[in-house]
Amino acid sequence: MCLGIPGQITEIIDADNLLAKVDVGGVRREVNIACIVDDEHPAASCVGDWVLVHVGFAMSRLDEEEAARTLALLAELGDMQAELDMMRRMEGQA
């Protein structure tokens, strides 16, 4: 029961009822933002935020730094791998 998809909030439709518009690959849908609004993040500040959308609710604010960190880690893994392979090849030649 887990189909959730990242989308970007493009506008606030109704700040009182916590309704916003989210864009997923050019598809727009009204979503409830009750789960991502708090004192630190009032409704109006949510425009532009990336969120995880599930059954018409923005369930979590996507942490863009964490996303970048995960991808960087995976890229590094590849580089390390290439380096190790190179070292091994050079050892083989020596």
Partner: protein
Amino acid sequence: MKYIDEFRDPAKAKKLVEEIHKLASGMFPSTPLRERTSPVAERSRSQRSRREHTRSQPLQIMEFCGGHTHTLFKYGIESMLPDTIEMVHGPGCPVCVLPMARVDDCVAIAEQPGVIFTTFGDAMRVPGTRKSLLQAKADGCDVRMVYSPMDALAIARKNPDREVVFFALGFETTMPSTALTLLQAHREGLKNFSLFCNHITTPATMRAILTDPDLRLDGFLAPGHVSMVIGAQPYDFVTRDYHKPLVITGFEPLDILQALWMLVKQIAEGRCEVENQYARIVPQAGNTAGLNAIHEVYETREHSEFRGLGNIGDAGIQIREAYAAYDAEKKFGIPFDAAPFDSAQGAGSLKCAEVLRGVMKPWDCPAFGKECNPQMPLGALMVSPEGSCAAYYAYGKLAKRS
């Protein structure tokens, strides 16, 4: 599409797969490093293997969530793994654990005059002992598929003279959405809206699996979207009491590979921790607003019967007395002690329970591919596209090629 495509990058996948192979070959020195052969070979191997807990047996890793099962099959991930890693498809598919009697209740509610029964598409084809919701619709009931519980609420606003019922099912991922919808109905004073609550909690279900003496598991991929609501802490008992490592995992294919890599690394290094691969979505403490809504509206049921899992005392969820006016069970007088699945008509030969708990492979069920198939599903695991039987049915066809 941003935050989707980056996590489907084949180059990064290749590296992760290499790392997983390397880790696995270090743990199984006698096993040559090679691609998994075929499900046919896998089948004979799993028939050979009894349940000795030695490292000569493949690692058994359960992806609890049906969404993960779906990703595994959609991207062909199992074919990339070394055959020393075996994925066990868990029961985290809410329509798969739904007893037939609950579907019967849905149909009974939908048959009441004046009712508009709303549901996610997933539940439409699930067989009850009498009929599915899709059949009930064909027979004249007003059954409507919606994308969101808020859409069901909108139908209630538009049809003040009709009773609108929403079939609330799912794990914690979905609970805030139904709870918040109920609270919205309450704020608006809508009298014609109710939930038929069949939510189920993840940690309790996981505990039921862990206490199963037939099951040998080496670790868990835990559902990331559940954790974005409940956080990481509720899984502590898995490592503390049952000594199984666990990684909270996202749903893109790279997420799954990275989580598998993290999990196998834990096992190789002899660690046993709750790790969070899905940090971009899952805050350590979960979602406060969502948890508040859940606690405001829902409470634990004393007794709840799930297909294949039996009675898990603390897994079932019901609506609190304070919101009884929005509880379809109370509104329509549905008793929640109906017959458990196994006594349901026509289910005798099915081994859904064993498959669901991961102690039996789908093809070992006598009904698999015969009287139970995707065209005429008897068990829910064959209905849902992420039910392991439906997935294996398609995958098995691939095996015949080789």
